[in-house]
Structure formats: structure tokens, C-alpha cells
């Protein structure tokens, strides 16, 4: 058994220093498009988006992150691509800033229990969520734990366009959680249905079924943005915005 101990010690510490320091390694995030002022023919890029995430309003290209599925068609194969933002703090709280039920409260700051529910996610979102428990990201150091029962959970992580067969189980899981409880929707599919919904077999995201408090867009969102979402739910980090530029956030309904 001691050979494993030595192996572990020899490998050293790989964990990221986020949230204390910015993570600067390469390849931690696919990035998101950024909105910008433009005029005229640059607006052609808007028509390349398959999910209408790009819009041209008032001489601005705005990006609605709730719909972006990372197909990169606004970036590649076009002579005036959008600007690209290589960050990872993408989690957005969709409640008003003075809503008292917005966040979980100070008591949960360093101790939340998380239940993950798969509502039809493709393997990529699930794989990214699994990474948060692995050595590079390790949420235990932040005080966050995964629990297999919703009875002990404070936060419900949901991924996938909610498929029809999973509506009933997810509703039951949500009802089984004691208050206070929050729901985080991971991935574009859970926010707007992504490329699958709405259809006969999928919803357009989770909001029709249970109220989502925080959304983390991306297809899939990298582990750091999922951690940003968890830090956001306990008010340890500020929220990002749903659209870019922020001024176009007025259109909150899908």
C-alpha cells in the first residue's frame, strides 16, 4: 500500500489556485464570443449562428450566451469573425440583486452539499462536472461536497435539456430537497434546450420545470466556470452577465 502513498507524494500538487488567483494555464476553457460595436457588413456573421445566439441590434453585435453551443462558426471560415473572450467566469445569477432569496447565505459559504442530476446531458457536460472532484480542480478544498441523496443537498446541479422521461424524477428530486435550496443549470442545453430542444422529447431548458437560480452557459462549460457558479451561489464571487455586451441584458426572457 505504501507504494501508492509515495506515488501520490511524488506527483505533487496539481490543484488550481482559483479562486484565490486567476488560472492562467492553457486549455482550461474554450472561451466565448464577445459582442462589439460594428457596422454594415460585419453583421453577416450573425447569420452563421445555428441557434440565433448572435443578434444585430442598434449597430451592435450582441451575443446571448444562453444559446451559444460552441460551434465556432462565428470564428472560423469567415473573413470578419467575432472577437473571442478566453475567460471562464461565466456563471450568471438570474435573480434581482435585492431579492432576498437570491443566494444561500453566509452559513453556507464554506459548506454546501451538491446533488447532480442528469436531465439528458451528453457526456461532455457530465465529464466536465466530474472533473470538479478530480485533482486539478478539487472542490473539497472550497468546502463543497457531492452527496448522493437530495435529502442532504443544498444545491441541485442540472445538466441536459430536460428530456421528457426525466421530468418526473427531477421534480421529485427537487421536492425532496429541504429548504433553503438552489438550482444551478449547467450548460446551454439546461438553459435554452441547446440544439435539442424544445421538441417532443426535450424541454427548452430547466426553467419550465423548476426555477433555476444560476445558469452557467457553455457547451460544455469548463470546470472552472462550474466552480464559479458554485462560488456565486454562496456569494463568494460576483455574477457574470447573460449577454455581451451587458447593456443588452434587458431581454432576459427567451
Amino acid at each position: 500500500m505504501n507504494k501508492w502513498v509515495f506515488k501520490g507524494l511524488k506527483t505533487g500538487i496539481k490543484t488550481t489556485l482559483y479562486p484565490d488567483k486567476e488560472e492562467t494555464a492553457i486549455g482550461i476553457s474554450p472561451g466565448l464570443p464577445r459582442g462589439k460595436q460594428t457596422m454594415g457588413d460585419e453583421a453577416q456573421v450573425v447569420s452563421r449562428c445555428p441557434t440565433q445566439a448572435l443578434n444585430y441590434i442598434e449597430e451592435m453585435i450582441s451575443v446571448d450566451y444562453r444559446r451559444c453551443i460552441h460551434c465556432f462558426r462565428c470564428l472560423r471560415g469567415i473573413h470578419n469573425p467575432v472577437e473571442w473572450d478566453k475567460g471562464y467566469e461565466w456563471a450568471v445569477s438570474i435573480k434581482e440583486i435585492d431579492d432576498p432569496s437570491r443566494m444561500l447565505g453566509k452559513a453556507f459559504g464554506h459548506s454546501i452539499h451538491i446533488r447532480f442530476v442528469d436531465g439528458g446531458a451528453c457526456g461532455a457536460c457530465i465529464s466536465e462536472i466530474e472533473q470538479i472532484n478530480k485533482p486539478y480542480y478539487n472542490i473539497h478544498r472550497l468546502g463543497f461536497f457531492i452527496t448522493p441523496t437530495p435529502r442532504e443537498a443544498d444545491v441541485l446541479l442540472v445538466a441536459g435539456p430536460i428530456t421528457d422521461h426525466m421530468r418526473h424524477p427531477i421534480k421529485k428530486a427537487y421536492d425532496a430537497m429541504p429548504t433553503p435550496k438552489r438550482v444551478i443549470a449547467i450548460g446551454t442545453c439546461a438553459i435554452s434546450g441547446g440544439i435539442f430542444g424544445p421538441s417532443f422529447a426535450s424541454e427548452a431548458g430547466i426553467s419550465n420545470l423548476i426555477p433555476a437560480d444560476i445558469v452557467v452557459p457553455g457547451c460544455p462549460p469548463p470546470p472552472l466556470s462550474i466552480i464559479h457558479g458554485l462560488l456565486l451561489v454562496v456569494s463568494r464571487k460576483p455574477s457574470a452577465s447573460l449577454t455581451s455586451p451587458k447593456s443588452t441584458e434587458g431581454r432576459k426572457t427567451l
Binding site: 501508492w4 451528453c122 465529464s127 428530456t163 435539442f196
Partner: protein, 534 residues
Amino acid sequence: MGDSLNKTVKLINLPETIASCWHTKVRVNLYPEKFLCLIECNTDVLVEVCNWLYSELRYRFASLVVEDQPEKWLLRYIFYGASEGGQVHILCQLSKTEKIIPSISNVVHAADWQEREAEDLFGLVFEEHPRLGDFILHEEWPEGVNPMRTEFDSLKPYVHREVDPEWRPVRIVQTPGAFMMPVGPIYSDFAESAHFLLETVGEDVIRTIPRLFYKYRGVEKIAEGKSVEHVILLAERFSGTSAFAHSLAFCQAVEDIVGIEVPERAKSLRIFMAELERFRHHIGAIAGICSSTAMAVPASQASILEEELLRLSCALTGHRYLFGLNIPGGLSIDFNNDILKNIATTISDVLQKLSELKEMLCFSSSFLDRLEEVGTISRERAVSYGLVGPVARASGMIRDLRKVLPYSGYEKVDFIVPCEQEGDGYARLRVLFSEAEQSAQIIHQVAFSLPSVPVVSPVFSMVHGSSLGWVEAPRGAAFHWVKLGEDGRIARYRITTPSFTNWHGFHLAAEDFAFQDFPIIMATFGLSNAECDR
């Protein structure tokens, strides 16, 4: 050269052989340049022909495609030769008034779930199939509504029906005092949604029938009528961990329909990316097996390697899971040869660490205790269920589409297909390690021998036609059958995934083992419900 001649000879002889057995009842068309043989027959000789093809000529069953055409049903049974290559499609027509077709599952058991899916989604009845119903559509779906029919509107949410209070799940073990342990659909830390009823009399699990399709998103239906550009996004995203493989299969099908030739560089790069994905997937599967046996340190070691590969993929292609790379005709971006060579070197380093991990695991007796002789699948069972991928290769069934039906330039790459005989969890683990090694080696080969030609073929337009695209995805053989309509849009899209094929055979491994071995057996299979449910 002689090999390919042999293959065509075998295939060329088919029409005479068939004609001699069933002369009037079948019609054979041979397309030697595509290694394709089309057999049209009536429903009364269907089972005989399939039986002959399967048992005598040793062709393997790939997929069943059902098309809902205006005046008739068209059923296409796709077989392929395991040793000779080449595809044989058996076409069967039913008029709209008949709905009963003989089932071939008693003969070709690999067709079992395909027929159940066709019954659920189309409403066809397969005679003598003992277990139709309650497959994809669960008990709250109204009877008689079949989503894959053309008249069903895919955008309309379906009407829920009150579940019959007398409804009971199928129960196999009828020993007095037997009961079922329900697992899921929400269970464990990160498990994908699926429901299991483990039938037991107290200690051993005697029978387990998984109830899947909780993640059914109807990809085949929502793809109908959409453009190829849109459907390739679906092909990538329905199973994110093998995105590149599935998008490759789709692109190959479209390229075959249009008849364009993909440039050599694109083919080599596709091999590079596919093997990178396979390498990363296998390391993830190894991490999953270690964590299912609760060995924290090797699980962490494997996870570290997996994350390094994800970051490497993102640095190279812009996305951690290789989304957005494949387009019909080639790849969407090109890469610098030097960067690719560096990546190949990094991958060799990762492989080195992986081999150290493998050495250490081989000597952990407590770990091996949980894997050896647990979850065994015999070779006969693997063959009769038509299993694919590392699971099949661990049971002595060498079958890899990269060797049998080479695509995208694999015939020029030098590699071996690892195989083990025992069929237990440890054999599957060893296969995963060996295949990872082979993938790293292929990446190295390809990176150092890239031709310098364009990475994408010139622009073309869609024509109508149908074709089969296939790929050896990380989990096994995947088949995408694409039919383009007159307007160049998708008319029918049929996906047969390796997880679908292997979930069918999962119960063979999980039976007669203790309940505590169940999660470990699942981890050694490494299946994805998202891939199976589509």
C-alpha cells in the same frame, strides 16, 4: 492487393449463391466499387436469408433502418463481413396496411433491441419477438403514438397519459421470496440517468434488465428536414465524449453520397484527432474503473492525465472535446506540422506515465480481486449478442472497424488490435491500456508523416442519395446511415451506437454476481447512456 481481390471475389459470388437458393424470391444488385451488395427479398424468406448470411457466411449484423415512406415501409438490414469486409444490405418492403414482419431476433440476437426500437418508434410489430413494448417510450406514453412516423410533429410536446396503476415492470425471477432492488434513475454521485431493477433472492443478483432511454432526445427525428450543416452539430453533441468519432461517421456518409474525395492531409488529421479522442476516453474509463473500486490514488493519477489531455485538446483545437472540427469534405481548421509533432511528443510522455500506472495496478492484489472473474462474458455470448469495442475484444472477439472496414486512411497506418480471452473486468482493463498504447503510437506515426495538401476539399453542393458511414468510436463500432432528400436536406438519419449494442449485452455480465460488484461491472464496461439513448 491480393486481399482486396479476395474480398471482391467473395462478394461477387454472392449473387450466384443467393440465386441458387432462392431464385425467384430475392433480387440481388452488386456494387463492387463500393463493396456493397443489395438484396431485395420478401418477408417470408427474410428470416432464412438473414440466418444464412449470419450463420453460414459469418456476416455480422450492424443496424436495422426503418423508413416511413408514403406508400410503404422500407426495412433495411445492414450486415457487414467481419473478415472479408464489404456490406450486405437486405431490403424488405411492407405495404402500409400490413404491420407485421417476422422477427429475426431468434436467429440474429444482435437485432433484438433494434427491433424493439422500431416497434416503439414506428409501430411495426415483429412477430415472435417475446418482449416488445416499454423500451424507448416509457409507461406514460400513450399507446399508438409513434414519434418516428412522418405524421408526428417533432416540435409538439407529447400528451401525457395517466399511468395505469396496475402497471408492473417485467419480472423474470419468480422464485418465492424474490424481490427487485430498484436503482435510479437518479443515483450515485455522477451516474447518468438509467433505471435498474436487480432481481435477487437476497445475495446474488440473479437477473438485471436495465431500463434505459431516460435520456432519449429523439435525435433521429429532429434531424429530419434539417440541413447537413445543422445535423452535423447534432451528430457531435448527442454524445459529447465521442463527438469527433460520430461527426466523422456522419461526414463520411455525406461524402460518400456526394461522391467527393477527401484530401490525404484531412484523412491523416482525422486519424490524429480520432486517436487523440480515443486516448483521452480510455484514460477516463481507466480512471472510472479505479474510482469504482475506491482506489483513490490511481483514480487521481488517471484523472490528472485525462485533464492534461483535455487541456492539450483545447490548446490545439480550441475546444476540450474536439467540437467543431469535422465538416463534410475535411476539417474546418488546419494545424502547423511542428505543433502536431510537439503534441505527439507530449502524448508519448503521457503514455509513459500511463504505463507506470499500469505496472503498479497489476500488482495491487486487492484491486485485482474485485476485477478478476467478475462480470465475465464468454466468447459465444459476445458473438451471439454482437458486442463491439473493448468489451468484445476482452472476450476474445477481435473485431475492429479500422481493420475490417478501413476508412479515412487507416489501411496505411500500422497498428495492432489488442485482444484478451477471459472476458472479465480485468481483461477489459488490460484491453483499455493496450488500446491507449496503440492510439499513442498511431498519433506519433501520423504526426511525423503528414502530407502537405489542403485540409478540406473544394466546395460542393448536396445531392440526394443514401449511404452508410461508419467509424470505430472509442467504445466500439458506430454506424450512421444518412439519406438526403431531393432538396439536399436530411430525409432519414439512423444512428447505431456502440453503447446501444453493448448495453444489450450488459446483463450477461451483471447476472449471478453480488450487488456490490454491480457498479464495478458497469465501470469496466465504460458505456455512455447519452450515446445509447440518443
